[in-house]
Symmetry: C2
Subunit: 103 residues, 2 copies
C-alpha cells in the first residue's frame, strides 16, 4: 500500500496514470508524451508496476500498460476511510479513535 503513495509522489508518474486513464498505451506511446529518455520512463513504469497501479501486457515486441483502477481506488478509499470525510468531523482536542490506518 505504501508503494502507492510513493508512486503518486512523482509528477511524471501521475501524468502516466492520467494518460492511461484515457486509454491503454504501450511504453513507447507513453514515452512519446514526455521529454524524458526511455530508460527513465521504464524506471517509472517499474515503480507503477510495483505499486500495482499498472499492469503490463506483452503483445509481440510491445508492452501495453493498462491502468489498474481498483488499486488506486482502494488506496484513495483507505485514505477517505481513515479520515472519514463523510462523517461529522468532530475537530478539537478530544474525539474518537479512527478504525483504520493510512498506510
Amino acid at each position: 500500500m505504501s508503494e502507492v503513495y510513493r508512486a503518486l509522489a512523482d509528477p511524471s508518474r501521475r501524468r502516466i496514470l492520467e494518460l492511461l486513464r484515457e486509454q491503454d498505451m504501450s511504453a513507447g506511446e507513453i514515452a512519446a508524451h514526455f521529454q524524458l529518455a526511455k530508460p527513465t520512463l521504464s524506471g517509472h513504469f517499474a515503480v507503477l508496476r510495483e505499486a500495482g497501479l499498472v499492469t503490463p501486457e506483452k503483445t509481440g515486441t510491445t508492452i501495453v500498460y493498462r491502468l489498474n483502477v481498483s488499486v488506486l481506488e482502494e488506496a484513495l478509499m483507505a485514505l477517505m476511510d481513515a479520515f472519514k470525510f463523510l462523517d461529522a468531523k468532530p475537530q478539537g482536542r478530544a474525539s474518537a479513535k479512527p478504525r483504520k490506518g493510512i498506510g
Copy 2:
C-alpha cells in the same frame, strides 16, 4: 496541489496526519509518538504546512497543529474526479478524455 502528494509520500507524515485526525496536538505531543528527533519532526511539520494539510495555532510557547481536512479532501476528490471512479469505466484502447488533470 503537488505539495500534497509529496507530503503524503512519507510514512511519518502520514502518521502525523493520522494522529491529528484523532485530535489536535502540539508539536511536542506529536513528537512523543515518534522515535525521531524533534527537529526532524519540525521538518515534517513544515512540509505539511506548505502543503496546507495542517494549520499551526500558537498558544503561549506551544504550537498546536490542526488537521486541515478540506485540503486533503480536495486532493483526493481531484484524484477521484480525474479517474472518475464513480462512472462506468470504459477500459480499453479507446475512450473519452477526462476533464481534469491530477496535479
